[in-house]
Amino acid sequence: MARYVMVVDLRSCVGCQTCTAACRHANATPPGVQWRQVLDIESGEYPDVRRTFMPVGCMHCGNPPCMHVCPSTATYQRDDGLVGINYDLCIGCGYCAVACPYQARHIVHRASFAYGDQPTESEAARFDEKRVSVATKCTFCIDRIDEAKEKGLTPGVHPEVTPACVNSCIAQALHFGDKQDPESNVSQLIKENESFRMHEELGTDPGMYYLWDGHK
């Protein structure tokens, strides 16, 4: 069975937030709700300082703490590794948001729009009441993954079935694919480069791999 993961090349990422904006577009999230975000991280002291850009979001963990704490079984995990939320079941309790070590979950309790209380035409066309007072998060653009089989396309290779953030990346920092397939782009990248996963020590088995230069 597939295990879809994301590979982030920290050597390439420039922190431009194009993925953030593309995700906001693709998923019609409300202002401030960024399922994909790039952190701007500083380390060291002047003048020996490093600044690193780190895309974050739902890690689609193999062992997702958010799912374990969900009292309504709204959060689920699919065989292909994707962690989803059934909005019809979610009661917006926020346990998952607390349990997630990646701060990847968002809950808004009232509709908000770019220019104030009223939606623009574009926002009105895409507004989904189901998303209010429930937990939301990155889905790895799950609808596209589901279309892959129907269309005979490969997620991470064909843009129609690849997450919007990966499609948008202007630095080739984001990659997506099936880690179970040893020939996939992500498997090759992980094999050929040094990588780490965030908070791996927590046993979450996160599905985002960060490529870096290691200790060089």
Partner: protein, 905 residues
């Protein structure tokens, strides 16, 4: 989701790093999403992606703050404190007002009593508004003289010295590294990860993966510094000193064989002999510069075949020197030196130890960087491009804003170009390359503008400085032809002259200078000088003096607050235009294709907004200029000529065409041009396919082959031409009694020397009555990918995502320094120059020099909806605009001395 869904291909050219090709998803007639044009990945050098700014276009389209019908002013008084009293009017009334005024002016004459054009126009964004204004350039061309010299940021916010000197030395309006082939880049403040767009980011990311090394020398740790192997926190405005020290190390601490001696000998002016008065020693008869031929053991003209030019040494020979205004010195058996020998002596004092006292960078660092540069240069290596063997020199020096403009800009541009020449890394694979031509003609391809001048260098169209031809009476208000010979006289030249001088002269005319009148009518589009220039409150006052202002308007803003008529155009996703793409363009757009891309209405224009092309046509019609307007379009002012060898889609001169008809003709001509007349698909084809290209030879990325073909030398290191031009300009000005440009005249040096460039700004603080000790910080700004050039500050999505990048909405300062001053993260602080103050929240970081502050945003808007509530500081408010801060090219830089204090809660 149900409904009618389509993806509409368009382009985004909101910044100079574009165009990006994208698609807009439209559902039931409403734009919902922006995506890269995935199909374009096959031809686009950045994988067909689009930058973050493009994602703002949906919110831009549906912004409720848009003006959706024409408006007129009802309050005759203008000023920040005046309510304009705008009221909606019909397009018919709007055209009556504008065309009525234009006809009135035309009847009086195209120029006023001072000789200046009655009509002025200002466009922002590094020229990018042109890609949104449809056929308006054809209207302007039909009108006649237009004054483009009221700047909105040029010279201060651009790479100004690089534009002028870059074009002089290697047809490089801007300069880029040959990133796919380079292995080592020294970046002096070139904030490419913010400014070089999709293609720049794409290329440099790939280069990092491929193992190139980039060192970022910059006072703060920018996003580009973050993505570099090393950050060197150099003191502001001291970059020339560090480059001069590199030259010292290369010429006095490095074996000569590490340099590219054949390149210097055969492809530069290094062997040219320099006489005792500082001018080239020339053959008395032909006036050709002489070099010493080691084969014949005598001085010979530079272009004599079969010579072995001496690169170094002193020689005794005869000839003449030709100075300013044809002054000639005859020499018989005089001692002369080669330009290269002069250069070596010139940089001898500039040791790394000397530079440390200026730049605050250790000598060991300078020596190491120079050594790394030399080691990576691979002098002697070659590579094959399109079947042609070229030198391979994978080292580049790139310079950014505030380094490449204002005082010190000349010295930086010269040193950077010269360092490249020393290892043969100019205009060859791996080295530094020009991108675009703006001042020379013809501009495309870049090679077409190269012609051999009388001294063996590339001919350059300097504005005349000789007595007979000097333009003593300015024909535009910034006087670029009078004061800045290097600005040349192309259609771009006026806007690349000293564009702030128009504003300064409007306030006070200097001695012996003609009156500088307000234009009778001023067109403004996608620019907001009341916010974007220096000393913006002062600029706003000057704008308020203009009697009739016509603004093409998206939302209300600080400049159109003074307007008389507002004309709302159908904007980015609502209108039609064809654009040339590919070839080589700034910032790092190096393509293997060239052709055309279409912007088309993805959605219907909102409200009563109108296609810019239809506005232009209507104005042409109502001013009786239709024939000239159509002729201008036929000649190519709307992207490309409508007739060629095998095709003719010319517009009939007397007909007022609809926008779709015009762009259909342009599309057909573009198709024909790309296929040698074989195919003539029009607008419908482009609407479906988005773009059309043909191969562009990679060899055209490089100027070196053309230089070799024509037997031309790069005009390095000795700037004899500039020395003469400066002296002549001085003579002309002094004959007119003008001495207020004397400091600028000192820039014209054959071998530029270090001057106390930081001191220029320190002294300016004193000039304004400030005590230097009260203004201990350097205030800088930096490019932002989310905002730069975009005119998009009123778009909430940009505000939101830019907040993820540190510093966008406050004053960045060193955390240790802040602790000393009792300032904590988020404290409201006042930043005060000797001119005035601005305030913002402290953003503390380790990644900035303790003596430097940074304001990324420049958003102290007071009229632009959304932006006016952002409460961010702006250095534009506190930066003086003065002659003292203006260099010889007419530029200054985004830098000012300031003090900081915490504002009590």
């Amino acid at each position: 989701m149900s409904g009618d869904v389509k993806k509409v291909p368009v382009y985004c050219y909101q910044c100079v790093a574009g165009p990006d090709l994208l698609t807009v998803k439209v559902r039931d007639g409403i734009a919902t999403e922006v995506e890269p044009n995935f199909k374009a990945a096959e031809v686009h050098p950045g994988g067909g992606k689009c930058c973050v700014k493009a994602y703002g276009l949906v919110q831009k389209t549906y912004n409720p703050n848009r003006l959706l019908s024409p408006m007129k002013r009802t309050n005759p008084n203008k000023g920040k404190d005046q309510d304009p009293g705008f009221v909606p009017i019909s397009w018919d009334e709007a055209f009556d007002l504008v065309a009525g005024k234009l006809n009135e002016l035309r009847a009086k004459g195209l120029t006023d009593e001072y000789g200046y054009p009655r009509v002025a126009a200002s466009f922002g964004g590094g020229g990018t508004p042109t890609y949104y204004m449809g056929t308006f350039p054809a209207f302007l061309s039909a009108w006649g003289p237009i004054d483009f010299s009221f700047g909105s940021g040029q010279g201060v916010k651009c790479y100004h010295s690089e534009h002028l000197y870059g074009e002089l030395w290697h047809r490089a309006f801007t300069v880029a590294s040959d990133t796919p082939n380079t292995k080592y880049v020294l970046s002096f403040g070139a904030n490419l990860e913010a400014s070089a767009g999709v293609v720049g980011v794409w290329r440099h990311a790939q280069a990092r993966i491929n193992g190139y090394k980039r060192v970022q020398l910059e006072p703060h740790l920018s996003v580009t510094g973050a993505c570099s192997a090393e950050w060197v926190p150099i003191k502001p405005k001291t970059d020339p000193a560090l480059m001069f020290a590199m030259l010292h190390v290369m010429l006095h601490e490095t074996p000569r064989d590490k340099l590219d001696l054949p390149f210097l000998r055969n492809h530069t002016g290094s062997p040219y002999l320099v006489g005792p008065n500082g001018y080239f020693l020339r053959d008395a008869e032909t006036r050709k510069p002489l070099l010493w031929d080691l084969k014949r053991n005598r001085a010979v003209p530079f272009d004599m075949p079969d010579t072995d030019p001496a690169l170094e040494g002193s020689f005794t020979c005869s000839g003449i020197e030709v100075g300013a205004d044809e002054r000639v010195w005859q020499h018989d058996a005089v001692s002369v030196e080669t330009s290269f020998t002069k250069l070596a002596a010139h940089v001898k004092p500039y040791t790394p130890e000397w530079a440390e006292t200026i730049c605050d960078i250790r000598p060991g660092t300078v020596r190491r960087l120079t050594k790394e540069y030399l080691e990576h240069a691979q002098v002697g290596a070659t590579t094959v491009v399109d079947g042609v063997t070229l030198p391979l020199r994978p080292v580049a020096i790139v310079i950014g804003k505030t380094v490449s403009n204002g005082w010190g800009g000349y010295e930086c541009c010269w040193a950077r170009t010269l360092i490249s020449c020393l290892v043969g890394a100019l205009e060859v694979p791996g080295g530094i390359l020009g991108t675009t031509v703006r001042l020379n003609r013809p501009a495309v391809p870049r090679q077409a503008s190269v012609a051999k001048g009388p001294d063996g260098f590339m001919a350059y169209p300097m504005n005349p400085t000789d007595k007979q031809n000097w333009v003593s009476r300015p024909n535009v208000r910034n006087a670029h032809r009078t004061l800045v010979p290097l600005s040349a006289n192309s259609p771009w030249s006026t806007a690349l002259g000293p564009t702030h001088l128009s504003w300064i002269f409007r306030k006070q005319v200097p001695e012996h200078w003609p009156e500088v009148s307000a234009p009778d009518l001023w067109f403004v589009y996608r620019t907001n000088p009341a916010i974007s220039l220096w000393d913006t409150p002062e600029v706003a006052k000057r704008i308020a003096e203009f009697p009739f202002i016509v603004c093409f308007t998206y939302t209300r803003d600080e400049t159109n607050h003074m307007a008389d008529v507002l004309l709302p155009e159908a904007t980015d996703l609502e209108s039609t235009q064809l654009l040339s793409i590919g070839g080589t363009k700034f910032m790092e757009q190096f393509w293997d294709y060239e052709g055309y891309a279409l912007r088309q209405p993805a959605v219907k224009p909102r409200g009563d907004t109108r296609e810019f092309t239809d506005i232009a046509t209507e104005l042409a019609k109502r001013t009786g200029l239709l024939e000239k307007y159509n002729q201008s379009i036929n000649k190519g002012s709307a992207c490309t000529r409508l007739a060629g060898e095998n095709y003719d889609f010319s517009l009939a001169p007397d007909k007022a065409y609809k926008a779709e008809e015009i762009w259909d003709a342009v599309c057909k001509a573009a198709s024909a041009e790309l296929t040698d007349g074989k195919e003539t698909q029009g607008l419908d084809w482009f609407k479906e396919n988005g773009y059309r290209v043909k191969p562009f030879p990679r060899l055209n990325w490089y100027l070196y082959p053309e230089i070799v073909k024509q037997g031309i030398r790069f005009e390095m290191p000795y700037q004899e031409q500039l020395l003469r031009v400066g002296a002549q300009l001085g003579n002309r000005l002094h004959e007119s009694g003008i001495t207020w440009w004397d400091t600028q005249l000192k820039e014209y040096q054959a071998l530029p020397a270090w001057k106390d460039f930081p001191g220029v700004w320190e002294q300016d603080t004193v000039r304004l009555g400030g005590k230097p000790e009260e203004f201990p910080f350097w205030l800088l700004t930096a490019r932002s990918m989310q905002y730069s050039w975009g005119s998009n500050v009123g778009i909430p999505l940009m505000d939101e995502v830019s907040k993820n990048v540190k510093g966008h909405h406050g004053v960045v300062m060193n955390a240790g320094k802040a602790r000393e001053l009792g300032i904590k993260e988020g404290d409201l602080i006042e930043v005060r120059s000797a001119l005035r103050a601005t305030k913002g929240r402290a953003v503390l970081t380790q990644g900035i020099r303790p003596d430097t502050l940074l304001m990324l945003g420049q958003f102290d808007h007071w009229a632009t909806p959304y932006a006016k509530d952002m409460a961010t500081p702006s250095m534009n408010t506190v930066t003086p605009m003065s002659l003292e801060l203006t260099d010889a090219t007419g530029s200054s830089a985004d830098i000012v001395k300031v003090g900081v204090s915490r504002i009590a809660a």
